[in-house]
Amino acid sequence: MRFFFDTVVDGELVKDNVGTVLPDLAAARRKATEGMASMAKEAIVQGARTVQVIVRTDDDVVARTELRIS
C-alpha cells in the first residue's frame, strides 16, 4: 500500500508526490513519527513553532501528527 507523507512547517506545506510502499497503517504511523522527530530536531532549533506530518493514501488523509511549541 502506498502512503504519502505531506509535511507542514509553520504553515509551509510540501506535498509528497513520491510516496512510500508500506505494509499497513501502523507502519505508516511509525514512518510519520520518525519523520516528525527528524524534522522537528532542526525546525525547533531554527525557530519553527509547528511541525505537522499528514499521511495520505492517494487522497484520503489516514493519519496526522502535529508538534506545537508554545
Binding site: F5, D16, V53
Partner: protein
C-alpha cells in the same frame, strides 16, 4: 582485462599520477572475471573474507553497515571506476558490506594476482594505496556531514559529491549525470528519515537547485547548490598529489 575495465581502473588510479605504459600493461594482464549482476546484489557481506577486489565497471553500488535491529547505514556511494572493497586485500575480513544499487557490471580482481602485480610494479601499489586513502577521506567528510550539517546542506553535499566524482570519471555531461539513488537510499546515507528526505528533496527541486527525473540528476545552479552545501571538493583529492 578488457579495454573498458583497464580504462576505468587506469583513469581512477591516475588521480595520483598517470600510470606508465608498463604499469598499464601490468593492469591489462590482471585476470579479471567480469559479471553482470542485478540491483541489490550483495558483493560482500560483513564478516566475509573475499579473495578478490571488486572494480565497479558500470552501475552504482554502496558500502553499508546493517545494525543488529536491521537498520541500514549507507557509508558511501560507489560509481564506475571505484574499487570499494579494496581494503579487504590487506584487512582480510569485511567490516561492512558492499551491495549494488542498480544493475551493475563488476570486474573481480583476484587478491593473489593483485599481489603479484604490485610486487612487479610497486608504483601501482602506491596508486591503490592512494585510492583507499581517498575512500577514507570521503568517510571522514561523511561523518562531518551527518554530524554537523542541517538536512538541506547535508543532502546538497551528497549531490555535489556525486556530480564531481561523476565528472572526474568522465561520466557527466556538464552538470548532468546518471543518478539512480532513491530517496530511501539517500535517507539511509544521510541519517534523516524518509519523510524528512522527501521534504528536503522537494525543497531542492522547487527552489531551483536541481532537477531529478528518470535517474538523471541535473544541477541547475551549481554556485547556489555548492554554497548551500558548503561543499569543498578538497576531500575528494582529485588533483594529482605531487611530490
Amino acid at each position: 582485462m578488457a579495454d573498458t575495465e583497464v580504462v576505468r581502473l587506469a583513469r581512477r588510479l591516475a588521480r595520483l599520477r598517470a600510470p606508465s605504459t608498463a604499469e598499464r600493461e601490468g593492469l591489462a594482464r590482471l585476470p579479471l572475471s567480469v559479471s553482470e549482476v542485478p540491483a541489490g546484489y550483495h558483493v560482500a557481506r560483513q564478516g566475509d573474507r573475499p579473495k578478490h577486489a571488486c572494480l565497479v565497471v558500470e552501475g552504482f553500488a554502496a558500502m553499508q553497515k546493517i545494525t543488529a535491529d536491521g537498520r541500514r547505514q549507507i557509508l558511501s556511494f560507489c560509481i564506475p571506476g571505484d574499487v570499494p572493497d579494496l581494503q579487504s586485500f590487506h584487512l582480510g575480513v569485511m567490516d561492512c558490506g558492499l551491495a549494488t544499487l542498480t544493475r551493475a557490471v563488476l570486474a573481480f580482481i583476484p587478491h593473489a594476482a593483485l599481489r603479484e602485480t604490485i610486487h612487479q610494479f610497486p608504483g601501482l601499489g602506491e596508486m591503490l594505496w592512494h585510492l583507499t586513502l581517498v575512500d577514507a577521506s570521503i568517510y571522514r567528510e561523511w561523518i562531518a556531514n551527518i554530524g554537523q550539517r542541517e538536512a538541506r546542506a547535508r543532502v546538497a553535499c551528497i549531490l555535489c559529491e556525486i556530480m564531481v566524482r561523476m565528472q572526474a570519471a568522465g561520466l557527466a555531461d556538464g552538470h548532468r549525470c546518471y543518478f539512480p539513488i532513491t530517496q530511501v537510499e539517500l535517507a539511509d546515507a544521510t541519517g534523516i528519515s524518509v519523510v524528512h528526505m522527501n521534504r528536503t528533496m522537494q525543497f531542492l527541486r522547487q527552489a531551483g537547485y536541481v532537477s531529478l527525473a528518470d535517474d538523471v540528476l541535473t544541477v541547475l545552479d551549481w554556485p547556489r547548490l555548492s554554497a548551500l552545501a558548503t561543499f569543498d571538493p578538497t576531500y575528494l583529492h582529485l588533483e594529482p598529489a605531487g611530490d
